[in-house]
């Protein structure tokens, strides 16, 4: 099956800093999503981005499908951005496969 690797595994920032999270995948995908898992365990949809670039406030994402990676940018980070960020991909009509996540901690 498709492999998904996220980096870095852990990231510690001071409030106001910028960060980039990366997701590499091993095969062509038709579906790529970024999620934020809050401290209560719920997965919050950030972006549905199988290709191209999208922005939502301080967050933006870019997927380069031909090179099999996606990037999530967080600018001017806030303590509420803390949590685990997951990338999940799907090839054709296959299953939605998750990476291991990036644990982000933002200190005030």
């Amino acid at each position: 099956g498709i492999q998904v690797e996220q980096s870095p595994p852990d990231l510690i920032l001071q409030e106001g800093a910028n960060s980039t999270l990366r997701c590499n995948f091993s095969d062509s995908v038709n579906n790529l999503q970024w999620f934020h898992q809050n401290p209560w365990g719920q997965l919050i949809n950030l972006f549905y981005i199988p290709s191209g670039t999208k922005q939502n406030g301080r967050l933006s994402a870019t997927t380069v499908a031909t090179e099999r990676y996606s990037l999530l940018y967080i600018s001017s980070s806030q303590t509420t951005d803390s949590g685990v960020y997951f990338c999940a991909v799907k090839a054709s009509y296959g299953k939605l496969t998750f990476g291991q996540g990036t644990i982000l901690t933002v200190h005030p």
């Binding site: 579906n31 999503q33 999620f35 997965l43 299953k95 998750f98 291991q100 996540g101």
Partner: protein, 114 residues
């Protein structure tokens, strides 16, 4: 628009007991997923339904886990008998179909087996 509903939110059982989780997907979503998330790991797909048919259950431990979606809407996931290693968060998700459509997740059920 209502999101994916799951119940219960928390459950504590003793090993060898049985437990059931319930999920109601977003209205009109044909595809329903059950994921298991062990602490410190990414969610792992247990079973995927398209309407009331199973699309993928390759990672479902069928000797103890079962799931059904009889009328193609809500779904139940059962564990019988539970083992200590089944302690995890069980997440339900739905999407319009099983192709290139966005999946949305419920709040999850946190299961502790003691």
């Amino acid at each position: 628009e209502a999101g994916v509903a799951q119940s219960p939110r928390y459950k504590i059982i003793e090993k060898r007991q049985s437990v059931a989780f319930w999920c109601n997907p977003i209205s009109g979503h044909a595809t329903l997923y059950w994921y298991q998330q062990i602490l410190g790991q990414g969610p792992k797909l247990l079973i995927q339904f398209q309407n009331n048919g199973v699309v993928d259950d390759s990672q479902l431990p069928k000797d103890r886990f079962s799931a059904e979606r009889l009328k193609g809407v809500d779904s139940t996931l059962k564990i019988q008998p539970a083992k200590l290693e089944d302690s995890a968060v069980y997440l339900c998700a739905s999407s319009l179909d099983s192709g290139n459509t966005e999946a949305f997740f419920g709040q999850g059920t946190r299961l502790t087996v003691v």
